[in-house]
């Protein structure tokens, strides 16, 4: 028990970086249990996390450790039992278009064409004007789907669907992108392409990204910082920054810095969270 509190509250020992930018997302003492009131299961135990504006943070950990739960709390889909999440100082209480969620499965609207899927956000917010259609088209162009505006999701490949769901989120110009194993269902080649695509997108727009994965390589390739979680109860046990200059690519995956971070993360995970 003390272990977990120390681990969650003070991961600083192995944290190589000093954050100088202002925190955009602040997770403070978040606790969450599932199950009945009489017999609750603690899923998140006093999680603290600060994510800077424009930072790319990867949330890494074994299956069932509470990554999705934490992301859903940040997204406003779940309310924590105690503690709070603030974004730019405002408390998160419900889902909102300022922080868009990308799921493992693309969750596209099957009865809408690609273009109409992208237009969903503006329509839902009753913010459609003369330029919306053009913006949606250029958003499709950004994700390399310009030719498929009138296709339905079931006519697209897995990677195209995931890109479409990203385009659908981006049209709202979210400042925060929450991604829950977005490329987990893709084959290795497509996943590599999607990672490059995401890095380019992020280099251009510099939104704040929280990216959940259980792939150590993916985490180190993408992230500014990696937060490692352990299970039972879910908590953050290790924070590490990945000091590899950008732009990055898979060619550098064997460079010393990548290897160092990966080793450290693996050791943490193997030790069951005692770094």
């Amino acid at each position: 028990m003390t272990e977990s509190i120390i681990g969650a509250g003070n991961p600083g020992a192995s944290d190589g970086s000093v954050i100088t930018r202002p925190a955009r997302i602040a997770v403070q003492n978040v606790t969450k249990s599932y199950g009945s009131r009489r017999k609750p299961t603690l899923v998140l135990d006093t999680v603290n996390l600060e994510i800077a504006q424009g930072e790319f943070l990867c949330l890494l950990g074994p299956s069932g450790c509470g990554k999705s739960t934490l992301l859903n709390i940040i997204g406003g889909f779940l309310t924590p039992d105690s503690g709070s999440v603030t974004i730019d100082g405002r408390k998160v209480e419900r889902p909102g278009p300022d922080r868009c969620m990308i799921f493992q499965q693309p969750a596209l609207f099957g009865w809408l064409t690609a273009l109409d899927n992208v237009m969903f956000g503006p329509r839902a917010q009753h913010k459609v004007d003369a330029s919306t259609r053009d913006r949606a088209m250029s958003m499709l162009d950004t994700v390399g789907l310009a030719g498929t505006a009138n296709k339905y999701p079931h006519q697209l490949s897995g990677g195209m669907r995931q890109r479409l769901s990203i385009a659908r989120a981006l049209i709202n110009e979210p400042q925060v992108l929450l991604m829950d194993e977005p490329f987990g269902a893709l084959d290795a080649i497509t996943r590599g392409q999607m990672q490059e695509f995401l890095l380019n997108l992020w280099a251009e727009h510099h939104m704040t990204v929280v990216f959940v994965t259980h792939d150590v390589e993916e985490a180190t390739l993408l992230a500014d910082r990696v937060a490692v979680m352990a299970a039972n109860p879910g908590r953050i046990v290790h924070l590490d920054s990945v000091d590899v200059p950008r732009p990055r690519s898979y060619d550098l995956i064997d460079s010393p810095e990548y290897s160092r971070v990966r080793m450290q993360i693996r050791r943490t995970i193997e030790n069951g969270g005692h770094s």
Binding site: G75, F77, R94, P95, G96, P97, R99, C100, M101, F103, Q105, A107, L108, F109, G110, W111, F120, G121, A124, Q125, Y152, P153, H154, Q155, S165, R168, A169, N172
Partner: protein
């Protein structure tokens, strides 16, 4: 790609095979009929066609009503019963999908009513409401409403939570999400429920018309049976079959329009 070619081929093949099998059925019927050689037991396709043409224009039996008008009478009852039943079923189903309490209150009645044949209610309905139009429409409702409720509830229940989350996180309010995502995503299964209910309402109405009616296809069949006019029985059955197919065809078109992905899967 491979799915595509398979689809193209079946598009070509399906009408061919189906037409051939129907033609084969008719030929078989013809052969058997010419062996039996008794139009009272089994009229040939030509006899049936003859009866159909005759009573389409000529009145049957004594009230001066043609087969078309009998069909129209049945159709009207179905339209009213099916329409009302759908509205009631969708409304109750939506309430049940929206509220656990309402679900638990209504669920046992549906479970109880499901194995009951609607026809068992005919005598009671006659005792209560006589032999006018009311008991007939009620009988259709008894068959249709539970089917519509179940289709609506499962449809709404089975909408992936991710879709609802996606809508909320794209800025859709709760109400917008309900109307544009949850209900919309459930529409195909609601329409599929309609397809089941169409068959149900034909079963009910024909049975009701056989017991207490002065018009309708069920009435025609019963009368024709009394006069051993087997050709006319078959003609009336044919009309029911064609009307049922037509209604189902329309619903399938609606379904294809509502659910492009499903339409591709189903060919």
């Amino acid at each position: 790609m491979s799915a595509r070619t398979a689809r193209d081929r079946s598009w070509l093949r399906r009408p061919l095979v189906s037409t051939a099998s129907v033609a084969g059925g008719v030929v078989l019927w013809w052969i058997v009929a010419s062996i039996v050689r008794d139009p009272v037991v089994l009229p040939s396709p030509i006899d049936v066609l003859g009866a159909l043409v005759k009573y389409m224009s000529g009145p049957y039996p004594s009230q001066g009503v043609t087969l078309w008008q009998h069909a129209a009478a049945s159709l009207t009852r179905i339209a009213v019963g099916f329409g009302l039943g759908s509205i009631i079923g969708i409304a109750i189903g939506s309430l049940m999908a929206g509220s656990k309490a309402i679900r638990h209150i209504i669920d046992p009645f549906i479970e109880l009513s499901r194995p009951l044949p609607p026809l068992a209610f005919i005598p009671i309905l006659i005792v209560w409401f006589g032999i006018g139009e009311v008991p007939k429409v009620l009988l259709i409702l008894i068959g249709v409403v539970p089917v519509r409720i179940i289709a609506t509830v499962t449809g709404l229940d089975n909408v992936e939570p991710e879709l609802i989350h996606a809508s909320r996180s794209l800025g859709g309010s709760e109400r917008y999400t309900m109307m544009h995502v949850r209900v919309r995503a459930a529409l195909p299964s609601i329409v599929t429920g309609m397809r089941l209910a169409v068959g149900m309402s034909w079963t009910s109405i024909v049975a009701a018309e056989m017991i207490a009616a002065q018009s309708g296809l069920g009435y025609v069949i019963l009368q024709a049976g009394n006069y051993l006019d087997t050709s006319l029985i078959f003609a009336a059955i044919l009309v029911i079959g064609v009307l049922g197919l037509l209604m189902d065809g329309i619903l399938r078109l609606v379904l294809r329009f509502l659910d492009p992905a499903g339409a591709a899967r189903r060919v």
